[in-house]
């Protein structure tokens, strides 16, 4: 065991897979010599060389299109999009091409590729560099979607994504890069589509993802002091979705709250809520509660951004109200 930051876990996960499989290559803007603008790929260029770790022009359609073509011809490429907001500039390649091609060709095309991207708010970057867009990707058949909350999960889910035969988008949360945690030594390989119960509880299930996992855990501790026993589930993977862990928890606690960084409309929590309402309605003892950012672009000023993104207090208040 050693302490590792979420930021360094990205590089460790990539290095683990590049060491194991020479077909794994990494491209993106400033990922090589500079080690990434968020310093998530530091050391990879030096270790694996300029052929396998390569800087691209500012060309997101080229990055995503090139990894698709490379995946069609024997590589297992990883492409970095510096900010998830830039997905909008190559959404055609990601959704019309990468996501659909296997289906549209009757299964002829295999695309073992990974898109990694820095996602989420809290850094005061304003409306075009702060969004949480994992729900966009979740809505597209043919894309797998993961969003790790801890350094160990970054490594394990990155490895699982790279080894997976399907396209996977890994959303790395900008607000977590500096977080440190104990990480086991040696190879770490996780499983896509598995949620994790991070805190056991009996009164209410709080489902969260990425940075909101930590918000939910902090809230659960406070709620514990108030006599409310909250179970916290880190979804980790939106596609595939671990509905078993979710439904089992709701069956036990009888109440559900989701904590999302997405704007209100059609955030991933809406799908979770719909699923529980359809399949576990009779387990519920009260309305499902969604805690989201308001339906607004994220503002830049710290006081405003903090107001927008769900806070520990908001989660505590909302869960108190639903438990009362």
């Amino acid at each position: 065991m050693a302490e590792l930051s979420y930021r360094d876990a990205v590089a460790r996960g990539l290095a683990q897979e590049m060491e194991r499989d020479e077909r794994v290559v990494l491209i993106g803007e400033d990922v090589a010599k500079a080690g990434g603008v968020f310093k998530t790929t530091v050391g990879l260029y030096e270790r694996f060389g300029p052929r396998r770790v390569r800087d691209t022009p500012i060309s997101e359609e080229a990055i995503t299109g090139m990894i698709m073509g490379a995946a069609m011809n024997g590589l297992r490429p990883v492409g970095e999009l510096m900010f998830s907001d830039f997905l909008a500039t190559c959404w055609d390649i990601v959704t019309n091409q990468i996501a659909k091609t296997r289906y549209m060709t009757g299964g002829q095309v295999e695309l073992p590729l990974v898109i990694r991207t820095a996602n989420g708010g809290g850094a005061r970057f304003g409306g075009q560099h702060s969004q949480s867009l994992e729900n966009w990707a979740m809505a597209v058949p043919g894309l797998k979607v993961v969003a790790p909350a801890t350094p160990a999960d970054v490594i394990g889910l990155m490895a699982a994504a790279i080894r997976d035969p399907d396209p996977v988008i890994v959303f790395e949360h900008k607000g977590l890069f500096a977080n440190k945690d104990e990480v086991p030594d040696g190879e770490i390989v996780d499983t896509l589509g598995t949620a994790r119960v991070l805190r056991r509880g009996d009164d209410v299930t709080i489902v969260a993802l990425a940075a909101m996992v930590h918000t939910a855990l902090d809230a659960a501790r406070i709620l514990g002091g108030l006599g409310i026993s909250a179970e916290v589930i880190d979804l980790r993977s939106l596609v595939p979705l671990d509905t078993t862990t979710l439904l089992d928890s709701v069956a036990k606690t009888t109440r559900l709250a989701t904590v999302e960084e997405n704007p209100r409309l059609v955030g991933w929590g809406a799908e979770i809520s719909s699923l529980v309402a359809e399949e576990a309605f009779w387990d519920l003892d009260g309305p499902i509660v969604r805690i989201t950012t308001p339906h607004i672009p994220l503002p830049a000023a710290g006081e405003l951004e903090d107001l927008a993104i769900p806070s520990v207090e908001q989660v505590v208040d909302a869960v108190k109200a639903m438990s009362g």
């Binding site: 052929r51 396998r52 060309s59 299109g65 490379a70 390649i93 002829q108 095309v109 058949p141 997976d164």
Partner: protein, 327 residues
């Protein structure tokens, strides 16, 4: 270049097969047996034939929704292509692709892409993998003149040039982006060739209705790519005999222009050339009769094939063969 007669006959055979296939596709559409839409490459067969014949088995070709010619001439079975157009169970993509997405990976026909420009970076990526893996594969990407105004064109050609990728970009300039003349929407005379200099590439223009000229340009570009000297950007001047798609009668084109280009039909031109080179009428007649028989057989096979099995609706979203998103 002295092109051997067997290569010439192969090109003629390819053009005739493509022509008859697409004429039949048009007829079947009028009979209601092909639905949705079709984008025919009638009149543009020489580009497909010249490149396909110059290609090696491991090479990869990427084309657009106007991709029947290219997919067929890489060796995809005609009956499976016809079945795909007709939405039958014998379709090459199980009926899930349709006219705009014909693909036969086993033959290096890496797909037909229906969003303008999207396949250029994909073709470049396949070339990048060839470069990294040290294979001698070349990736060829066909697209229309209208594509030269979309961002993906510029992103792909730039990175291919900077990385010296073994990819050949082939612009089929048929003078119309869709219904609008390309000359109305570009600031230069040649949509592809005049942009080449921006990426340090030579602006190459060939007569796209002359299979020999296309073949020679293709051979030169393959040699360049295999030698590690990087990409080529080739503009082939050609003309589509029909409108942009099934919905378009092409009335925006002046009658004289259409007549002029119909006189320059690539198949008529090539037939005369082959005769002048001493190929007998009998040999050409036999190629034509065989192609027609192949189209007839493909049509019959597809008409007789049942609709796709309903089970395929939910297959092949994922590599495990299914479409499940939950446990």
């Amino acid at each position: 270049m002295d092109i051997p007669v067997d290569i010439r006959l192969e090109m003629y055979d390819g053009m005739v097969r493509a022509r008859y296939f697409e004429q039949r596709a048009h007829d079947l559409f009028m009979q209601g047996l092909v639905k949705g839409t079709t984008h025919l490459g009638l009149g543009q067969e020489a580009v497909a034939a010249g490149f396909a014949v110059a290609m090696r088995p491991g090479d990869m070709s990427y084309c657009t929704y106007r991709g029947h010619n290219h997919t067929l001439l890489r060796g995809a079975p005609m009956d499976a292509l016809m079945g795909e157009l007709m939405g039958r169970s014998n379709g090459i993509c199980e009926g899930k692709g349709g006219s705009m997405h014909l693909t036969d990976i086993s033959k290096g026909a890496m797909g037909s892409y229906a969003i303008v420009g999207a396949h250029l970076p994909v073709a470049a990526g396949a070339a990048w993998a060839a470069q990294l893996r040290g294979t001698d594969q070349v990736s060829v990407c066909f697209f229309g003149d209208g594509t030269t105004n979309i961002g993906a064109f510029h992103e792909a050609v730039n990175i291919a040039a900077v990385w010296d990728l073994p990819v050949i970009f082939v612009c089929e300039n048929n003078l119309y982006m869709e219904y609008t003349a390309i000359s109305e929407v570009i600031a230069v005379d040649h949509p592809a060739a005049d942009r080449a200099a921006a990426y340090g590439l030579e602006g190459i223009i060939v007569d796209g209705n002359d299979a020999d000229a296309v073949y020679e340009a293709a051979v030169a570009a393959y040699e360049r790519a295999r030698a590690g000297d990087g990409p080529s950007l080739i503009e082939a001047l050609t003309y589509r005999h029909k409108g942009h798609s099934r919905a378009d009668p092409g009335k925006y084109r002046p009658d004289e222009e259409v007549e002029e280009w119909l006189k320059r039909d690539p198949i008529d031109i090539y037939r005369e050339r082959l005769l002048s080179l001493g190929v007998t009428e009998e040999i050409l007649n036999e190629i034509e009769a065989k192609a027609l028989a192949e189209v007839d057989a493909a049509t019959e096979a597809s008409k007789n094939a049942p609709p796709p099995d309903t089970a395929v609706l939910l297959t092949d979203v994922w590599a495990d063969g299914g479409s499940s998103w939950r446990n």
